[in-house]
C-alpha cells in the first residue's frame, strides 16, 4: 500500500511538471480552457435544442434526459481529463519516443497519462459535474441507500469505462500506427451515443453499442435505476445496476490489451 502511495506521489510530481510546462503558453491555455468549457456546454445544449423540437427524446421527459446527458458528460469529460490524450501514443510509437517511458522505473501507461495530461480540460469536467448534481435534484428520484450509492458511483464507473476505451483505442497504435480516427468512432461516438436515451436508436446498431460494447451502462441504465423506471426495451431491472461490473470488466480488458501491446512494441524511428 505504501508502495502504491509512493508511486502515485511520483506520478503527481510528473503531472505537476506537465502542467507547469503547459502554463508557459498562457494565451493558448486560456483559449483552450474556454474552448473546452464551450464544447461541453454545446454538447448539452445540442441535446436540449433537439429536445425542444419534439418535446421529448425517445419517450423520456426533460429531467430524465438532463440526468442522462449530464451523467454522460461527467463520465466522458472525467476520462477526457485523465486520459484522452493517450492517443498521442501514436506519435510516441512512430518516433520511438515510447522508449524513454520504458526506461523509467514506473508503469509506462501511468507515465503516458502523466505526460499527456492536459489541465485545460478540467473546466469541462467541473462544469459537467455541477450539471449532474443539479440534474439529481431536478429528477424525481425516490432516494434509497442503494440509489444514493449508485448516484455517487455512477460517474466514476463512467469515467473508468470511457478511460478504458481511450486506452484501448490508443493501444491499437502498437500494431497500427495509422489507425487515426477509428478510435474516435467509439470514444467521441460513445459520448454522443450515451448522451441520449438509447430508445432513440434502432436495430442492430443499438444492441451493438448499448449491450455489446456496453455504452448503455454509462448513463442510460444507471438513470433508469435511479428514477426507478422499467426499460421500454425490456432489459431486466437487475441489469440496470450492473454499471460498476461493466466498468471493471472494461478496465481489465484494456489493461490486458495494453500489456500485449507493449510487448509488441517495435521501437522503430530513428
Amino acid at each position: 500500500m505504501a508502495e502504491f502511495a509512493a508511486k502515485v506521489g511520483i506520478i503527481a510530481h510528473m503531472v505537476r511538471a506537465q502542467v507547469r510546462g503547459q502554463l508557459q503558453y498562457r494565451v493558448s491555455f486560456v483559449m483552450e480552457l474556454i474552448g473546452s468549457m464551450m464544447t461541453n456546454a454545446l454538447d448539452v445544449a445540442t441535446v436540449f435544442v433537439l429536445f425542444s423540437v419534439g418535446g421529448g427524446l425517445g419517450g423520456f421527459g426533460g429531467p430524465n434526459v438532463l440526468l442522462m446527458a449530464s451523467l454522460s458528460a461527467v463520465a466522458f469529460s472525467g476520462s477526457d481529463l485523465v486520459v484522452s490524450n493517450v492517443d498521442r501514443l501514436r506519435e510516441y510509437v512512430r518516433t520511438g519516443m515510447f522508449d524513454s517511458l520504458l526506461l523509467r522505473p514506473l508503469s509506462s501507461l501511468a507515465q503516458l497519462m502523466a505526460i499527456t495530461f492536459a489541465l485545460r480540460r478540467v473546466g469541462r469536467f467541473a462544469q459537467a459535474a455541477v450539471l449532474y448534481v443539479i440534474a439529481l435534484f431536478v429528477a424525481d428520484i425516490d432516494w434509497t441507500v442503494g440509489r444514493v450509492l449508485l448516484a455517487v458511483v455512477a460517474p466514476f464507473t463512467g469515467v473508468v469505462f470511457f478511460s478504458s476505451l481511450f486506452v484501448a483505442g490508443a493501444t491499437v497504435a502498437f500494431w497500427w500506427v495509422e489507425s487515426g480516427e477509428v478510435a474516435n468512432a467509439f470514444t467521441y461516438g460513445g459520448r454522443d451515443f450515451t448522451s441520449y436515451p438509447i430508445t432513440m436508436y434502432g436495430g442492430w446498431f443499438r444492441d451493438l453499442f448499448a449491450l455489446g460494447l456496453g455504452f448503455g451502462f454509462v448513463a442510460y441504465y444507471p438513470v433508469l435505476a435511479l428514477v426507478g423506471l422499467p426499460d421500454p426495451l425490456g432489459v431486466p431491472v437487475w441489469l440496470h445496476w450492473c454499471s460498476p461490473l461493466v466498468a471493471f470488466l472494461a478496465a481489465g480488458l484494456a489493461a490486458l490489451f495494453w500489456r500485449v501491446g507493449v510487448r509488441h512494441y517495435r521501437s522503430t524511428g530513428s
Binding site: S36, E181, V182, Y196, F205
Partner: protein
C-alpha cells in the same frame, strides 16, 4: 492553368497515398452517421413525422451527406502552414514565384477531390443502403450541389489558412484552432439543421458568419429545402464568403510578410 492543375493533381495524389487513414476516417464518419441519423429520425417521429420542415428521407440525406462533406471540407484538420511559420520554412514558400496562398488552395482542392471520391461516397452509400436517401426532383440540383461543395471547401480552406497565418503573431495557434473547431462544428449545421435554432440566431449566423457556408447551404441545396428559391441565394452567400475570406487571407498575409521583413525574421 498548368500550375493549378499540377498542384491539384499533387494534392489528390498525396492524399491517395494515405489509404489507411482514408479507411479509418470513412469508418468513423459512418459510425457517426448512424448515431446522428437515428437521433434526428427519432425526433422527427416524436414531432409528428417531420422535423422543422425536413421529412425523414431529407433528414437521412442531411445526415449522411453531412458526414461525407465533413471529410471534403475537412475543417477540423489544420493546414501545416502554422508549423511552417513557426519553423521559419515559410520564408522559402514566400520566395517562390507563386503565392503560397494559391499553392495551398489548389493542393487543398486536390485533396478535396480525393475525399469526394472516397470519404464522401462511402457514407452516402451506407446511408442509402440502410435508410434510403432523398432523391432530388430537379436535375439542376446536382450541378448546383457540386458547385456549392466546391464553394464550401474554399471557405473552409480560407478560414484555416487565416488560422495558420495567426502563427505570425501567436506563439501557438492551438487555442485559435480549438475555437474554430468549436464554431465550425456548432454553427455549420453539422450537429443539427440550423433551422431548429431560434429565428434570430439562425438569421444572424447566416447573415454575418461564414459557418453556414461550410455545410448547411450545400445540404439544403441537396435536399431541395425551399427549392431553388432558397438554394440559389444560399449558393450566392457561399460565393460571397469565398471572395471575402480569400481577400482576407491576402490582406493578412501582406501584413504578416511586412512584419517578417521589418523583424528581419
Amino acid at each position: 492553368m498548368r500550375v493549378p492543375r499540377a498542384l491539384i493533381v499533387a494534392g489528390f495524389r498525396r492524399y491517395a497515398t494515405y489509404r489507411q487513414a482514408t479507411v479509418a476516417g470513412a469508418f468513423t464518419n459512418v459510425v457517426f452517421g448512424f448515431l446522428r441519423c437515428y437521433i434526428l429520425l427519432s425526433i422527427a417521429e416524436s414531432a409528428g413525422g417531420s422535423m422543422v420542415g425536413y421529412d425523414p428521407t431529407q433528414l437521412v440525406s442531411y445526415v449522411w451527406l453531412g458526414q461525407g462533406m465533413l471529410a471534403v471540407v475537412n475543417s477540423w484538420t489544420m493546414l501545416d502552414l502554422a508549423e511552417r511559420v513557426r519553423s521559419g520554412e515559410v520564408v522559402s514558400d514566400l520566395l517562390r514565384p507563386i503565392d503560397p496562398l494559391w499553392t495551398y488552395m489548389w493542393t487543398d482542392l486536390g485533396r478535396g477531390g480525393f475525399a469526394m471520391l472516397t470519404r464522401f461516397l462511402t457514407p452516402l452509400v451506407v446511408g442509402e443502403l440502410c435508410f434510403g436517401v432523398y432523391v432530388p426532383d430537379n436535375p439542376l440540383t446536382y450541378p448546383l450541389f457540386l458547385l456549392s461543395v466546391v464553394a464550401a471547401l474554399l471557405v473552409g480552406f480560407a478560414c484555416r489558412y487565416l488560422i495558420g497565418l495567426c502563427a505570425f503573431w501567436l506563439l501557438d495557434v492551438r487555442g485559435v484552432s480549438m475555437m474554430w473547431v468549436f464554431f465550425s462544428g456548432a454553427a455549420s449545421g453539422l450537429y443539427f439543421p440550423l433551422a431548429v435554432l431560434p429565428d434570430w440566431l439562425a438569421t444572424a449566423l447566416w447573415a454575418v458568419t461564414p459557418f453556414p457556408s461550410l455545410m448547411q447551404a450545400s445540404l439544403d441545396i441537396a435536399v431541395e429545402r425551399g427549392g431553388l428559391a432558397h438554394g440559389l441565394p444560399a449558393f450566392g452567400a457561399q460565393v460571397v464568403w469565398v471572395v471575402l475570406s480569400l481577400l482576407a487571407c491576402r490582406w493578412v498575409q501582406t501584413r504578416a510578410v511586412r512584419r517578417l521583413v521589418v523583424q528581419g525574421g
